[in-house]
C-alpha cells in the first residue's frame, strides 16, 4: 500500500525472518548467520534443563491449586527461549528478568524453591541478586528494561566493555514480553541504550499474549523490527528452538560485550499456560491455537533429534524423568516448610539507615502484640 503523499508504508506483510536450527520435527537445519556446532553433551544438557524447568513450572502450578502458593506465573512452553538465553550467559553478565523467567533463574543457579517464596507471599523475592547476577523479579511491566540499560551504562563506566578480556567484558540482559513492548519505559530504554551505545541485549519473549490481549493489539509491525526505528539491530529467533535461541543469544551478548551496542532479540514463542493461575484463557483464545503450538513443542523436538541422531537413549530420558520427579517432591516438601516472616521485622527493612519514626512504629506494633499476651497470659 502506498500513500500518494507519504510514500510506501512499512511492509507489514513481509515474511519475518525466523532464525531456526532445529525444526519442530527435530530435524537439524542450518542458518548462514547463526550456526554453531553443538556437542552431544550440550544438547542433552538443554533437554535436561528444559525438562526440569517444565517440571518446576508444573509443580508450582499444582502447589498453587493446593493453596500453598497464592499465585503462580507459568513459563510453560517458553522453556527453549529461556534455557537458550540463560545458557549463553557468561558468569559476569547481569540479568534483569520480568516475573516469568524461571528457566533463566535456573541457569543462574537459583534454586527453584527460592522462586516460590514471593508467590507464596513470604517475601518479595527470595534470592540475593548479587550472588547470581540476576535481579529480583520485577512486577511493574517493563520497568526493569530501564534498570538494565542504566546498569549497562555503569558497566561502560567501569571499563568492562570491549577490552577483549573474556572474564571482564560484560553484557546486560533486559527481559520483557510482547505486552511490555508497548510500555513507555521500554521505548525509553531503547532511546537511552541507543544514545549511549550501551551493552544491553533486549530479550523479548513474544509469547503472543498479554493476558487476553493478542500481539496484534500491541504492535502492527513484527517486534524485532521495532529496534530499527531506535537505531539498533533486531533479530527474530524461533523461541521454541533452544539451539537457535542459544546461538542468537551468544552472538547478541558478544556484540554487546565487544562494545557494538544494544541488540533486540525477539524470541517467537507461545504461552502454553495461562497468564497466571488466576487467568482463564478459554475466555479469549481458541483451543485450536494452543494445539497448533503444541506441535511446535520445544522439548519434544530436542528429544526427537537426540534419538534420531543416536545421541541419547531410553536410559538417559528415564534418568531425567526420575530427576524431575525428585525435583517435584523436593519442591513440595520445601515449599510447605518456607517460614512466614515476622511482621515486626518489616520496619527495619525500609531504609539503609533506620529512622526514629519507624523505630517508634515498630515499638508500637510490639506493644500491640504484647497486649494480647498480657490479656491471655
Amino acid at each position: 500500500m502506498s500513500d500518494p503523499v507519504f510514500g510506501p508504508a512499512p511492509d507489514l506483510d513481509a515474511d519475518p525472518e525466523l532464525v531456526q536450527l532445529l525444526t519442530p520435527e527435530g530435524e537439524r537445519v542450518h542458518h548462514p548467520g547463526f550456526d554453531l556446532d553443538f556437542t552431544p553433551e550440550q544438547v542433552r544438557g538443554f533437554y535436561r534443563d528444559m525438562t526440569l524447568v517444565r517440571r518446576l513450572d508444573i509443580e508450582a502450578t499444582a502447589l498453587q491449586r493446593h493453596g500453598e502458593l497464592g499465585l503462580w506465573v507459568q513459563s510453560l512452553g517458553q522453556e527453549a527461549a529461556q534455557i537458550g538465553a540463560g545458557r549463553a550467559l557468561l558468569p559476569q553478565d547481569y540479568v534483569f528478568p520480568t516475573y516469568r523467567e524461571h528457566g533463566v533463574a535456573w541457569c543462574r543457579g537459583i534454586d527453584p524453591v527460592q522462586l516460590l517464596s514471593m508467590y507464596r507471599g513470604v517475601d518479595h523475592g527470595g534470592w540475593d541478586p548479587a550472588e547470581h547476577n540476576f535481579n529480583l523479579y520485577t512486577v511493574v511491566i517493563g520497568a526493569q528494561t530501564l534498570h538494565a540499560t542504566g546498569y549497562a551504562m555503569g558497566v561502560q563506566r567501569d571499563g568492562a566493555v570491549g577490552t577483549g578480556d573474556p572474564t571482564r567484558d560484560t553484557a546486560v540482559v533486559a527481559h520483557f514480553g510482547d505486552g511490555a513492548s508497548s510500555q513507555g519505559d521500554v521505548s525509553e530504554a531503547f532511546v537511552f541504550a541507543a544514545s549511549y551505545n550501551a551493552p544491553v541485549v533486549f530479550f523479548c519473549q513474544n509469547n503472543q499474549w498479554a493476558i487476553s490481549e493478542p500481539i496484534e493489539r500491541q504492535s502492527r509491525i513484527p517486534l524485532y523490527r521495532r529496534s530499527q526505528g531506535f537505531g539498533f539491530p533486531g533479530v527474530r529467533v524461533d523461541g521454541n528452538d533452544v539451539l537457535a535461541t542459544y546461538s542468537v543469544m551468544q552472538a547478541a551478548l558478544r556484540h554487546a560485550r565487544e562494545g557494538q551496542g544494544p541488540i533486540l532479540v525477539e524470541a517467537f514463542t507461545y504461552r502454553m499456560g495461562a497468564h497466571t493461575t488466576t487467568d482463564d484463557p478459554t475466555r479469549y483464545r481458541h483451543a485450536d491455537d494452543v494445539e497448533r503450538w503444541r506441535l511446535k513443542d520445544p522439548i519434544t523436538r530436542v528429544e526427537a533429534h537426540l534419538r534420531r541422531a543416536g545421541l541419547a537413549e531410553d536410559a538417559f530420558f528415564e534418568e531425567v524423568a526420575a530427576e524431575a520427579d525428585e525435583l517435584g517432591e523436593r519442591m513440595r516438601r520445601e515449599c510447605q516448610a518456607l517460614p512466614d516472616p515476622d511482621p515486626r521485622n518489616v520496619f527495619a527493612l525500609v531504609h539503609a539507615e533506620q529512622t526514629a519514626e519507624l523505630a517508634a512504629q515498630q515499638a508500637s506494633y510490639d506493644a500491640h502484640v504484647a497486649s494480647f499476651e498480657e490479656v491471655h497470659g
Binding site: D123, P129, G150, M153, D185, L349
Partner: protein, 325 residues
C-alpha cells in the same frame, strides 16, 4: 568563608561531593554542556567529564530508571528533574522502584540516589513550573525528603544527601536560587541532615516552614515583634523523616502553632504536623494548629501567583487567629 548565592552553594556542594567520591554522577536534561537551566551544574562537565556529568535524552522515567540501574552497579547518581511539574513521568520509577528496592530486596540492594527538584513558585513562570509536590513523596515509604531554605544548608545538605545510602528527594526553592545570598563556611562541621532547626527563638507563637516559606516566616516574626509579639521560627529542613522534637518542645512553651507551606493546604505537610502535634501536645495547646498554604486549586497564572501564595499578611492573620480561641 565565602558569600554565595544558593545556586553557587549547590554547585559548590556538588563539586565537593564529586571530588570526594568518584562514584558520584550527575545526570539530567541540560545539566552538562549548558550547566543546567538554572546553572546549578555549571562547569561540572568541563571539570569531571561527560562520563560523570551526563546530558540525558528528554525522558524523566528514563533518567530515573537508568539511575536505578547505575545505583545497582555501585554508582551514586544525582538526578536533576528540571522543574517540579515534570517529575510526574518519573513518578512510577520513583514510587515503585527507587522507594521500594531496599525493602523488596530485604536490604541487599541499596539505591543511594539523590533526586534534585527545583520546587515552588514566585518566579513568574508558565504552568507546571511552580509546583510543590513534596507531600506525595513524604507519603511514599522508602524515600527520604529534605528541603533547604538557605545557601549554607544548600551546601551541606546536598553533600549529606549524596553521602546517604538511602534515596533522597532533595527540594530546592527555585525562587531563592539567586536572591538568597549568605556566608557559607565550607570548613565548618555541618549540622545533622535529619534535624529541624530553630532559626529564630520566641515565646508567644511557633511558626514552622521549609524551603521558600522560612524567609516568609522570618519576615512575619520581624513585623510581629514590632507589634509586641515574640514568634519562634522553625525550619523543618527534613520532611521525611520529620524531626518534630524542636517543634514539640516549642509548642509546649508557646501553646500556639502555625505551619506555612506553598503546597496545597489539604493533605500538605501541615496536616501531618497538626495531627502529630495534637497527639503529643494536646494539653499544651491554647489553640488548634493552623495551616497557611496554597489554596486547593491548581497553581494559578503567574500574574496572580502572589495573591495565591501564602504571604506575610495571611500568615499574620493566622497568628492573630491563634489568640482568638
Amino acid at each position: 568563608m565565602t558569600t554565595m548565592t544558593m545556586a553557587k552553594a549547590l554547585n559548590a556542594g556538588l563539586r565537593r561531593a564529586m571530588e570526594d567520591d568518584p562514584k558520584v554522577l550527575v545526570m539530567g536534561e541540560d545539566v552538562g554542556t549548558l550547566g543546567g537551566v538554572f546553572r546549578i551544574t555549571d562547569g561540572l562537565q568541563k571539570d569531571f567529564g561527560d562520563d560523570r556529568v551526563i546530558d540525558t535524552p528528554l525522558a524523566e522515567a528514563g533518567i530515573v530508571g537508568t539511575a536505578v540501574g547505575l545505583a545497582m552497579r555501585g554508582y551514586r547518581p544525582v538526578v536533576e528533574i528540571q522543574f517540579d511539574g515534570f517529575v510526574y513521568p518519573a513518578y512510577d520509577q520513583i514510587v515503585c522502584q527507587v522507594a521500594k528496592m531496599h525493602f523488596r530486596s530485604q536490604g541487599r540492594t541499596k539505591i543511594p540516589m539523590v533526586i534534585r527538584i527545583p520546587f515552588g513558585g514566585g518566579i513568574g513562570a508558565v504552568e507546571h513550573h511552580s509546583e510543590s509536590p513534596e507531600a506525595q513523596f513524604v507519603h511514599t515509604p522508602g524515600l527520604k525528603v529534605v528541603a533547604c531554605s538557605n545557601p549554607a544548608d544548600a551546601y551541606t545538605m546536598l553533600q549529606q544527601a549524596i553521602a546517604s545510602d538511602d534515596p533522597v528527594v532533595f527540594l530546592e526553592p527555585k525562587r531563592l536560587y539567586y536572591s538568597a545570598k549568605a556566608e557559607v563556611d565550607e570548613a565548618a562541621t555541618p549540622p545533622p541532615l535529619w534535624r529541624s532547626h530553630v532559626v529564630r527563638p520566641g515565646t508567644d507563637v511557633t511558626l514552622v516552614g521549609y524551603g521558600p516559606t522560612v524567609s516568609t516566616c522570618l519576615d512575619v516574626a520581624e513585623v510581629a515583634a514590632e507589634e509586641g509579639r515574640s514568634i519562634e521560627v522553625i525550619d523543618l529542613r527534613t520532611l521525611s523523616p520529620l524531626d518534630l522534637g524542636p517543634v514539640l518542645e516549642s509548642v509546649r512553651r508557646t501553646g500556639r502553632l502555625v505551619v506555612v507551606h506553598e503546597a496545597h493546604v489539604t493533605l500538605g505537610i501541615g496536616a501531618e504536623i497538626a495531627a502529630r502535634v495534637s497527639e503529643e501536645c494536646f494539653h499544651s495547646l491554647e489553640a488548634p494548629v493552623l495551616r497557611v498554604g496554597g489554596y486547593d486549586t491548581p497553581y494559578p497564572p503567574s500574574r496572580i501567583e502572589e495573591a495565591w501564595l501564602p504571604d506575610l499578611d495571611r500568615v499574620l492573620e493566622a497568628v492573630d487567629r491563634t489568640f482568638g480561641f
